[in-house]
Symmetry: C2
Subunit: 457 residues, 2 copies
């Protein structure tokens, strides 16, 4: 697992394009009348109080840096609007998981490519320029390897390239089926698709994948339930220099089982194994002790908060503000993709904190923008993205300020009112992928419909 | 305060229009291939397993009955995206209220007409066919009456007629400025616009307003903070035969002050005064005791839950499920209009319950549809709306099932995925007001922009 991202975006051709933005979110804040010159996929110049020039491409409204979706399971999109109730039965986290395993059992590299391409297209329409795809559906339904053991991961990489966004493939080590009475349980049923046997075999498989200018190979520990404690250091060692993500304390049951089996909280267990640190992102981090929060913050571990999923799965409200105060950078993920709207994720982070605390303005607008952009891009291994400044990757997301939703808002608070439907233009590494709210290379809704229909057979 | 709504919608002209719906939400549930014949603003026939006929108007996706927005303060739309932080200061409920009072102080009948027309247009784009406008901005800034003492209320009625939806003007009695140390406090500053002196004077003023085929005059008690206990029976008596709404226990402080001053909870106080009952709707009902819940349910009082506002103002999560189980009908409101998307309100009702309870599927889809439609229409005094059945008001809202948001969803769970942007066609009392996602009579976004700009001066 080696490789350094190219300093030049994939469409570099030497020509300069200049964008004239009504407003742009620069490192100094929300700024009117900004010209942004782009060449070779990078920002070459930024000028403020600027008059648009002939030949500029006008970007209406507010231009944000590219949004990062730090936690996605693309195939969960197939469950959207299908698990609220099932055949009249009430639904729980566990009936949801059954439904998810049914979809997981049916996917092939071909159907997954088609579905993920459409889902990534949906993300682009909402301003996402990098997705972190948390990937554990590695093998055939019976657990045997495909001829190319990375066939499923390569389908995801190809889907991202075809859709036109950057991807960090967070290839997950998933070895066991949870804490059992006599030790860790074996993988059963659909779970057999997830397993590589041990962490060394997982690392060897992942080592066959390579970075490209628009894709990074990252690593993941599915959770403390899925990787035995003794195997954690192997994953850590194999993922050095890479983003490393891990599901953490999404449900109270995980905490109870981990404490009973190891005497440590999941955070404590990860800390002991050397998993925490600035290259690591903990996903959810919902049910934490004060000591957990301090460990995550002190180690500089980033957090991927996934509020619409955490609502949907009845997980609860995590301690986002406390984690940020302790030193963790917050980022946002659409996770199960029951909804793909990063603005709603940011709003939900703020609103759920309000519900839990009884106080308003738990996060300043610039903190929410950082979570949506720079902090998220960094957590996915793209530290040169997520800011509009000289030398940065030229990701630009223009958000209408004149729609029925955003009319009348202060530009620097518009993200509290905007939805994905307000995204007008999306530029990824200097290349315009979405214009006028439409993906220039695909009919996203049609591809979603056909990919989902094919999956149902 | 007398008058009976006309049995015929405003556009009755005798001709029959037949709509062919891919799916329609009928009283029996979500049903494919439905033809709906409409004449005189009423549903004249409903057939299922029907083949579309030449001349039918095709309604794509899922056709819902008209949505009811049971709690709106139209002028709060001016605060959207402007109170998250103010000049870098943190915001609380109280800084929010300051900002709200500043807008309230500036409105005239003319600027309010323009703003409300645009806001009601925004509601129509999201499928709202009846709005309950909770109105307390009655008088001049210094408290003197306008030449027509109902000038502001008439502006709201005119705005609804111009936009093309039905309105229930919930004219609010607002007499005092809260529980004070030596009795109720006097109205001060902007609050002087709200006051009529006493409940008899309020009733006399409201009595000059009349129902029309598309407008009902309802009544409201602003809250137990704003109407002295001794005046409550006067309001109840004057509003017989009318919808009566009341803000209830939105913030814990109201409960504490009411208990200290009267020895009763706000619910207990309203119950003693005869306010509760099937014609009454309690708005928010967030902080309730078990006894409060039992009283509201037993009396058949409806509830207007306003989840996006309750999040935004950090009110907390109310006991929606418990209220429904106790016998109250739940309805939904956009309240401060920081967002106008009734689907998000319904989703938030369900999702916030999940966060509070740790359980999924707190409400069946048909319960959420009832809250959005029939229960809400009834709470606004339109019991013949909100259902697609013979003789009912012909309100039809078609929601795309093929958008990037809704593709692949089960039609009967699509409202868990849809947003206001997915509304394609809106028929109000047999008249098509929105088609192709556009209001046929106004450019809503442009009207919002100009009305909001005029208000800032």
């Amino acid at each position: 697992m080696t490789g350094v991202p190219s300093p030049i975006g994939p469409d570099a051709d030497g020509s300069v394009t200049t964008y004239a933005a009504d407003w742009a979110w620069l490192p100094a804040g929300c700024t009117p009348d900004v010209r942004i010159a782009v060449a070779g996929g990078r920002v070459q110049a930024v000028s403020t109080s600027a008059t648009p020039q002939l030949g500029d491409e006008h970007l209406v409204g507010l231009v944000l840096p590219g949004l990062a979706n730090t936690h996605s399971h693309a195939f969960h999109r197939a469950l959207r609007g299908r698990t609220h109730s099932v055949a009249g039965r009430e639904s729980s986290f566990w009936t949801w998981r059954e439904a998810m395993y049914e979809v997981a059992a049916r996917l092939t590299p071909d159907t997954y490519l088609a579905l993920a391409r459409a889902v990534f297209g949906e993300m682009l329409l909402g301003g996402v320029t990098t997705v972190g795809e948390f990937h554990y559906l590695h093998h055939r339904p019976d657990g045997r390897r495909y001829d190319d053991p990375n066939a499923m991961g390569r389908a995801l990489l190809e889907a991202a390239a075809a859709a036109g966004l950057r991807v960090t493939l967070l290839d997950a080590c998933y070895l066991v089926g949870g804490f059992g009475p006599g030790g860790y349980a074996r993988l059963e049923g659909t779970q057999r698709r997830f397993g590589d046997g041990d962490a060394a075999a997982w690392a060897a498989r992942v080592d066959a994948l390579s970075d490209t200018p628009s894709a990074r190979i990252g690593a993941a520990i599915h959770s403390v339930r899925a990787v035995p404690a003794a195997q954690l250091p192997v994953v850590v060692e194999a993922s050095r220099g890479r983003p490393l993500h891990v599901h953490l304390s999404e449900q109270p049951a995980e905490n109870q089982q981990c404490l009973a089996a190891t005497g440590l909280t999941p955070t404590g267990l990860l800390d002991r194994a050397g998993v925490l640190g600035p290259a690591t992102t903990a996903v959810h981090a919902t049910h934490l002790s004060e000591d957990d929060i301090a460990r995550l913050g002190r180690s500089g571990t980033s957090i991927s908060v996934c509020p619409t999923t955490e609502r949907d799965l009845a997980d609860g409200i995590g301690p986002g503000r406390a984690l940020a105060d302790a030193g963790s950078r917050l980022t946002l993920g659409s996770d199960q993709n029951a909804m793909i709207d990063l603005f709603e994720e940011a709003r939900a982070l703020e609103m759920d904190e309000r519900l839990a605390s009884g106080e308003r303005t738990r996060f300043a607008p610039e903190e929410l923008v950082a979570a949506l952009t720079g902090a998220g891009q960094a957590a996915l291994g793209w530290p040169d993205a997520g800011r509009i400044e000289l030398g940065a990757r030229a990701d630009l997301v223009s958000v209408r300020l004149d729609s029925v939703r955003t009319a009348g808002t202060d530009p620097d608070q518009a993200l509290l009112a905007a939805t994905a439907s307000d995204v007008e233009t999306v530029v990824v590494d200097g290349r315009v992928v979405v214009r006028g709210g439409r993906h220039l290379g695909m009919d996203v809704a049609a591809e979603l419909r056909s990919a989902l229909a094919a999956l149902r057979g």
